[in-house]
Symmetry: C2
Subunit: 250 residues, 2 copies
């Protein structure tokens, strides 16, 4: 098991951890992948530590792979959380002691400076997998404002802030939506992230003007009322929009 190897703390850098805010979008709701700790029953973000020979990015990829089964997804560090008091009352210490009295908890019982990453994933492709400290791994609704352990609420909120800013100069949606999606679905994604409603017609005009969408000759049937057209992202243009940024500013 990968995690029990990780517990062999000799391979890991001290004082440094990372936490991942993994965003998914489902049924018009923005979700965050969440762990539920076995012993202390607290909610926590998926996180991990850095091996002595790997980069932070690689460590974050490992965490993502282990919790979601996914590889190659949008992943970005956004802030370091270094309050010297943030590691106090780390429930992992208590959890570990109760779970397994033989394990040395001293690695967990130190001050951690944690690098926050956020990831955007396609909800349906995720296979949520708990780690050795948690009894379940599940999606929680951002709107629900669940109480997380330590400073994880702060981490989530700051990730959301960054995501909102990103929306203004980069395209978003690939990685968060299925391959084919409708305009109303894309709009709902934007509205959910921004926390406000947008005009349907103006939204369509603007998003189309970026040239990152290909309109398909299919419609989504099954819902009530008129069937909307399906779109997919034009990866070529999407990628160049990611690199060069959208319109914006000077």
């Amino acid at each position: 098991m990968v995690e029990s190897e990780s517990l062999n703390s000799g391979d890991l850098l001290n004082h440094i951890s990372l936490d991942c805010v993994i965003f998914g979008f489902h049924e018009n709701e923005l979700k965050v992948l969440t762990l539920h700790l076995k012993t202390t029953k607290e909610y926590a973000l998926p996180g991990g530590f850095v091996r002595k020979d790997e980069s932070l990015e690689n460590a974050a990829k490992r965490v993502l792979q282990e919790r979601t089964g996914l590889d190659n997804i949008f992943l970005k560090q956004f802030k370091v959380f270094s309050d010297p008091l943030r590691s106090l009352n780390n429930p992992a210490v208590k959890d570990l002691t109760e779970l397994d009295t033989e394990t040395d908890t001293s690695f967990f019982d130190q001050r951690f400076i944690s690098v926050g990453f956020y990831a955007l994933v396609e909800f349906t492709e995720v296979n949520p997998t708990p780690d050795f400290l948690s009894d379940s791994c599940l999606w929680t609704n951002v709107k629900d404002e669940i109480r997380f352990m330590m400073d994880h609420n702060k981490i989530i909120n700051e990730a959301l802030d960054v995501l909102r800013v990103q929306l203004n100069y980069q395209p978003i949606g690939y990685n968060l939506l299925p391959e084919k999606f409708t305009m109303p679905e894309l709009q709902k994604l934007y509205e959910t992230i921004l926390g406000k409603e947008l005009d349907r017609r103006n939204f369509q005009r603007k998003i189309l003007s970026y040239g990152i969408l290909d309109k398909l000759n299919e419609r989504r049937h099954g819902g009530a009322h008129k069937s909307p057209f399906l779109y997919k992202f034009n990866l070529r243009n999407y990628q160049s929009a990611l690199n060069e940024g959208l319109s914006g500013g000077w």
Copy 2:
């Protein structure tokens, strides 16, 4: 001396360092505060380490205070540099060994994950002060593309990228310009950061529309030709623009 205390590495967190890209603006040039190492004669960014009881932000403030004499300046972390190979050939180890054979260099001779900060300071207020490893602390011109040690060139370039993006949704200039400044000076600052020229009249129209400037009833005399008006930032509006962001996007 503060630094020799810092060398007492028992107070410091292992594996974690920080580097500051301190931007200044002078004579229409964007500058970076740079250290020149005594022994290896390499150029380096001001940096430091984190005490066991302080936050990263606090450690960065210390570094800034020590190198510039300034307190309370714009300072922001922008990225963590964690390539496992980045600490190889850290000249500080060699420098230290040659400078003082009694000092234990083992603290320096470890892998460091470095948090990049960038700061915006008013050039004329800075009192550049070398640290114990360097023989001088001076402003270098960003355009000159001086070769820095380790990955510091990369750190500077990424800081510049972030600064350019920031320009599009936040006001910039306070902290980089003197209290009173002219419109052409402000424009040159923008042009220097962006690396491109802007139309004089359109720039003025746009920057004024933000409502962050107060036009004064004074002009700057002494230069040739027509004397431009002086402006200062309206701190009230500037601050709220910082918080709420400029126009932009959705």
